[in-house]
Symmetry: C2
Subunit: 146 residues, 2 copies
């Protein structure tokens, strides 16, 4: 038998599959809101505090302008956000919520419940998973820089 790595032994593939499965569970709910999953993430950040610059959104989500610029244009076309050049620093673009964008927050409150219901894990297991994932992500990011 070869010593080639086996698919099902790879934590990386387990992460990849779980992440895809989780967004698939969210998809029907998000469809009814007219959002994709990354668009939903951007709205989550803005619901916490706005306006935010493109840079701030990118830092919160780990996305660069190549991803965010067109995504934000689509959110603007949906009437959920507005993009305005900052006056203090004309390089910056502040992303503001519109009234429609703020109102969407109500409909989105039910979204994360779906995952908890479908997860088949106890609250304690979910919470432990969450904290392990956060530590893993932080460690991988710092390893990546070296």
């Amino acid at each position: 038998m070869s010593d080639a790595p086996r698919l099902n032994h790879q934590v990386c593939f387990a992460l990849y599959s779980a992440s895809k499965a989780a967004t698939a569970v969210y998809r029907p709910v998000l469809d009814s809101l007219g959002l994709t999953y990354p668009q939903y993430l951007v709205m989550l950040v803005l619901w916490e505090e706005e306006p935010r610059t493109v840079r701030e959104l990118g830092a919160a989500l780990g996305l660069d302008s190549g991803t965010l610029s067109p995504l934000l244009k689509r959110l603007e076309a949906l009437g959920l956000v507005e993009r305005r050049r900052s006056q203090e620093d004309e390089r910056r673009v502040d992303i503001h919520l519109t009234d429609a964008g703020r109102e969407l927050s109500g409909g989105a409150a039910a979204v994360p419940k779906r995952l908890a219901d479908a997860a088949g894990l106890s609250a304690a297991e979910l919470s432990q998973l969450h904290s392990t994932l956060q530590r893993l992500t932080a460690a991988l990011h710092s390893a990546d820089k070296q």
Copy 2:
């Protein structure tokens, strides 16, 4: 304070971030092999057993023909696989490894070690994370069907 869901409370976002961070850690090694992460996953499946049909690869990885067809054409252009119509059932396309494809397995053996080294988790924690993720993925898939 609003009851809008908070980004950092979402397990789904933790999965999404961890998955991206893990593939980012793999990227430099895979670059040196000339593979993307999904291409590496396909090669992993083929190193275990070949030939495999497009359908079988899709079942193993959770990908459909819309993703796999062009990906397999790129692997074929790289000289790593060959696509041959099955004789028993002309609808099927069997994916065979070339000699170059088989040889790549050696260079890839070091890939998963990178994650373990960078993870910052004990072997026990990694193993528990792995099993939790597999149960989560299974539960999410079965929830998705209903």
